[in-house]
C-alpha cells in the first residue's frame, strides 16, 4: 500500500472580550477562500445580536480579534 496523505484545515478564531481575555473557537473544514468581509460581517452579526458571552461574570463580547487558518498534512506511512 502507498502512503495515505490527508489534508486537514481548521479556522481558529480568537474571540476577545471587553475584560481583555480571549477565547478560542475552532471551525473545521473552512472554505478555501474566506474574505475579510465575511469575517467582518460575522463579527458585526455577533455584536449586533449579543450572541457570544465570555465564561466569566460580565465578560461582554468585544470582537473577533484574529482569525488563523491552520493547515495540516497528515501522512500515514506505508511501513509494509
Amino acid at each position: 500500500m502507498a502512503d495515505i496523505v490527508t489534508q486537514d484545515s481548521t479556522l481558529i478564531f480568537d474571540l476577545m472580550f471587553v475584560d481583555g481575555d480571549t477565547r478560542t473557537q475552532k471551525l473545521k473544514n473552512p472554505k478555501a477562500t474566506i474574505t475579510e468581509q465575511e469575517i467582518t460581517e460575522l463579527n458585526a452579526f455577533i455584536q449586533a445580536n449579543n450572541l457570544v458571552v465570555g465564561d466569566k461574570y460580565g465578560a461582554t463580547f468585544g470582537k473577533i480579534a484574529k482569525v488563523t487558518r491552520r493547515n495540516e498534512t497528515v501522512t500515514k506511512l506505508d511501513i509494509n
Partner: protein, 178 residues
Amino acid sequence: MATSLSIKGKTSGGDGVTTTINYVNPNATNGQLQSLASAFNDLTTNTVSDVTRIDKNSLTNTVAKLPRNLQLKQGDAVITTVSNATLSTTMQGGTEVLIVFDGTDITAADFSIKMTADTPAHEPPFTNWYSWDDDGTTIHNMYLARYTQVDCVGTVITISLPETDTYEAATATLTITE
C-alpha cells in the same frame, strides 16, 4: 449557565463532522442561535443536518465566587455561601467539611467529588465521604468528609467536580490553617 451549539453535518467527502460553538449567550433565542450556527457553517465546506443547543448548569461561576485558598482555622465555624447553586463550607471544630448545594437537583449518578490532601500525613481516613438526602436520589446538601484526627492543620482540600452532561466542571480549594 454555559450554552454551546453542536452543529452536526457532513464534510464535502461525505464523512460525519461535528462542530461545537462555545461561549454562546444563553439568553439568545433559538432562532438567533440557528442563525449563528448558519453564519459559522457558511465559512466551511460542511453541510448541516442538525443543530443542537446544549445548556449546562454552571457550578464554575459559583465556585469562582468562593475566595480562592479559603483559609479556615481549625476550630472555626465558618460559613461561606454563594447563592443560586449554593456552595458553602462549614468548618466546625476542625472536623467537618460540609458542602451544600442548595436549589439544585443533582443526583448521585451525575458526578463524583474527589478530595485530595497536601501530604499523605493529612490524608485522613475519611468517613462519610459524601451522603445524600434521605430520598437517596437528590442532593440538597452533601456532607463531604469528617476528619477523625484532631490536627488537620495544613490540609488542602481540593474539590473537583468533573464535567457532566448537565454541569460544567468546577474546582474549589480549601486550606486549613492554625
